[in-house]
């Protein structure tokens, strides 16, 4: 474990961070970066290959899809969708999860019991199934996707953080804080939260990766964003039909998702290492 700390100290953090930044920039400045509007169709120029494949043209660096839309532009705008969802949804899930985690972990007793059981019920749904069910109920749309992710993934935070909180709560300095008359709220905010914060931030970063995937999944099964909003998952779904004729249409968005998730994970692990060496090795996602 000691060694872990030395293992490429924060290469992960650096690489991950910069990649995340890159995707983020793509998302924010999409309108300026993207060569075309993502929904412009050239029905007579469909499934054009990317520039490096034979028959590709510089007009469409990454080629076009089955409606003659520019793949590159759609990927850039897709980053926008992905990042919005990732940021907002993860934050929401974190707030909800952290709130209950601290309640449960700090007060224990019946509060803990109720929250834990609730989480248990939640977790008995495979996440994918639950989010799809939710979407079938809520209908599609970015906001719906975000809501669905929040409602599904808050448990992820709750479960992990709860034990973190319990650990912190076991520390004598928390007992001391009570002894000198700190109120519960104050103890949580000033003594426990600082202790759980590193884990919180780490989880947040990892959750962003997860959110990107979930968003992709939902748009992939056409339960995500509406059709006029470009999203990677959607691109994959569209490209599937023609994958024999136009494999790159499938490969490129997959690559986009992979890179984004990877960078979030690297970033998260980097954070975990820097913020909290204790956890250097422990715990999977």
């Amino acid at each position: 474990m000691m060694r872990k700390k030395f293992r490429l100290p924060d290469l992960g953090l650096v690489i991950g961070g910069s990649l995340v930044g890159l995707v983020l920039i793509c998302g924010v400045f999409a309108p300026w970066i993207a060569p075309y509007h993502p929904n412009d169709q050239e029905l007579l120029y469909i499934l054009a290959p990317p520039v490096w494949a034979d028959g590709g043209s510089a007009a469409h660096l990454f080629g076009t899809d089955s409606l003659g839309r520019d793949t590159l532009s759609r990927m850039i705008y897709g980053a926008r969708t992905a990042m919005t969802v990732a940021a907002v949804a993860s934050l929401g899930a974190m707030l909800l999860g952290a709130f209950f985690a601290h309640l449960a972990g700090y007060f224990g007793g019946w509060v803990d019991w109720i929250i834990s059981r609730t989480v248990e019920v939640w977790l008995s749904f495979p996440p994918v199934v639950l989010s799809m069910l939710l979407i079938t109920g809520l209908g599609i749309g970015i906001d719906k996707v975000i809501l669905a992710i929040v409602l599904v993934d808050w448990t992820r935070f709750c479960r992990v953080l709860r034990s973190e909180v319990q650990v912190a709560r076991g520390q004598d300095y928390v007992a001391f804080a009570r002894l000198i008359g700190f109120s519960h709220l104050r103890v949580i905010m000033k003594e426990i939260l600082p202790a759980t914060l590193p884990m919180l931030i780490t989880l947040l970063s990892l959750q962003m990766g997860i959110s990107v995937v979930v968003e992709a999944i939902l748009s992939f099964v056409a339960m995500g964003v509406p059709s006029d909003v470009p999203a990677w998952g959607q691109m994959i779904a569209d490209a599937r039909i023609d994958m024999y004729g136009a494999p790159w249409g499938l490969a490129l968005p997959i690559a986009a998702i992979f890179v984004t998730v990877l960078s979030f994970n690297l970033f998260g692990d980097g954070l975990r290492r820097t913020l909290d060496p204790r956890h250097a090795a422990n715990r999977g996602t």
Binding site: L43, P226, Y244
Partner: protein, 498 residues
């Protein structure tokens, strides 16, 4: 009798080779399962091919949808179209050996519906008030209201004669799982959503198809169907993507055909809401470049249509056209105070994967509309939801839809599309109803057809719908077998020869 003989002739290509060219087994890659084996239960087109192999229809169709004798050797509609006298062949037997009689005919087309079983057959034959049996081969159908196209219906989806005795033995549930018909094949093996194996009845009353055994592989994924064909695991695959068909046509390992069928792709319009304004309706139509759609998604093979029917069918007006003209569209919109900068916005529903290219077409249309100043936000729904929404009048103003009409008769096109009493009608105005009602009960066929010609014209000029393309069925099959495509999209064993 004569008719039958003629049809027989028509079907039997190269009679002298008939037996030489017998095919032991033919494997077909098919899109969907029958879902239910009760042939009267579903109108949906896909299962018909399979059902038709196990069951017989009272009246049959030629490849270009002319009526021809089936189990009925003869039929005569009364002047007032309130009754029809039918004569059954006397040599038809079910696969359990029992004879097919008017009892079974009555049971299928009257008693079952009368019992209130949930059958789509009711859509057509709900009007049958009774079937009067004169003899095992003679009967008279009576209708509650004039039913001029009963003959077409008898040759249409879900119109298969089932055995009364058998049906009463196994009950409705049994009918769904274990079929027993008088068709040329009997079900040998069935694995839901996976495989259907049919074997030929050599005691079949009619012309024997050359294929002894038919294996139908249910493969929902088009690429997988192609793979199955190319790997030789199946001899014939349907509904391949148009691009793959082109590829097959270039190579010489396989035959590939695109078969225009009696199915039209169109945009339904609602008479209320934004589309209450005729200008907008027409603009929406003018704005769509149908040939571009055909080029982009059907390699140009799909025939563009401007009226709710297909070329060569009764009620089709060869020289009536509605042009793609976005300038005109803009004008019309401008007249109603809209334009590209202040577009009229509306919801546009489409299915995704219901039929090849639907989602792409819808999205292409959205862009075409956008150019002239109609902002459509696309909603993906399923077929069942479409009925759901329409029934509760929540259907978006426009929706991309596909219409199947195995008979080609105008009533089963415009007639049913706009009959306010049916769940398909989206454009409901008193005017339309006033025009359609008499047609539905018009006994004189020529007058009926004329009426429909006028009606079709009216619909388009009113912008009551936006016809787009005549759908094409794509079929790829191995060298060494010949296939005669049927305009109703059925794959018929009789039509496959070596």
């Amino acid at each position: 009798m004569k008719l039958a003989a003629m049809t027989g002739g028509a079907l039997l290509v190269r009679p002298d080779f008939a037996f030489a060219g017998e095919i032991d087994n033919l494997a077909i890659a098919w899109t969907t399962d029958t879902a239910t084996w009760d042939p009267n239960q579903r109108l949906s087109p896909d299962p018909q091919t399979i059902l038709k192999m196990v069951f017989d229809q009272p009246i049959d169709q030629t490849s270009d949808l002319k009526l021809t004798s089936g189990v009925l050797s003869d039929w005569a509609l009364a002047e007032d179209a309130m009754s029809m006298r039918v004569t059954l062949r006397d040599d038809v037997t079910f696969s359990d050996g029992t004879k097919l009689t008017t009892e079974d005919f009555r049971y299928t087309f009257f008693e079952r519906l009368n019992k209130g079983e949930e059958l789509d057959l009711a859509v057509g034959f709900g009007t049958v008030s009774d079937i009067e049996i004169l003899s095992p081969t003679e009967a008279v159908m009576h209708f509650a209201k004039p039913f001029p196209i009963v003959a077409q219906w008898l040759s249409f989806s879900a119109s298969y004669i089932v055995s009364k005795a058998y049906a009463e033995k196994v009950g409705p549930e049994g009918m769904k799982t274990s079929p027993m018909g008088s068709g040329p094949y009997v079900l040998k093996e069935y694995k839901r959503d996976s495989r259907i194996v049919l074997v030929r009845r050599d005691d079949y009353w009619g012309e024997l198809p050359l294929i002894k055994r038919i294996t139908i592989e249910i493969i929902p994924d088009p690429t997988a169907r192609l793979a199955a064909l190319e790997s030789g695991t199946v001899d014939l695959a349907t509904e391949l993507s148009i691009r793959d068909i082109k590829r097959l046509q270039q190579g010489d390992a396989f035959n590939a055909v695109t078969n225009p069928i009696a199915r039209i792709i169109y945009v339904t319009i609602r008479a209320d809401g934004v589309f209450a304004d005729r200008n907008i309706r027409l603009a929406a139509h003018h704005a769509i470049d149908k040939s571009l759609l055909s080029k982009a998604f059907f390699g140009g093979d799909a025939v563009t249509i401007d009226q709710p029917t297909i070329p060569g069918m009764p009620g089709f007006l060869p020289d009536f056209h509605f042009d793609f003209d976005d300038a005109k569209a803009k004008e019309l919109l401008a007249a109603s105070g809209f334009g590209p900068d202040n577009p009229v916005s509306l919801d546009f529903a489409t299915t995704n994967g219901q039929f090849p290219g639907d989602y792409d077409i819808a999205r292409a249309i959205v862009t075409m509309w956008e150019k002239v100043g109609i902002k459509a936000n696309l909603k993906v729904i399923t077929e069942s939801q479409w009925y759901e929404l329409n029934a509760s009048a929540k259907l978006p103003p426009a929706s991309l839809f596909v219409w199947e009409n195995g008979t080609g008769d105008p009533e089963l096109f415009a007639g049913n599309m706009f009959d306010a009493d049916l769940p398909f009608a989206t454009y409901r105005t008193p005017e339309v109803t006033a025009m359609i009602k008499p047609l539905l009960s018009e006994p004189d066929n020529d007058k009926r057809i004329k009426g429909y010609e006028a009606f079709n014209k009216f619909l388009i000029e009113e912008g009551a719908m936006i016809p787009l393309l005549q759908a094409i069925q794509t079929i790829g099959y191995r060298k060494g077998i010949e296939l005669k495509p049927w305009a109703n999209g059925l794959i018929r064993p009789h039509a496959i020869t070596s």
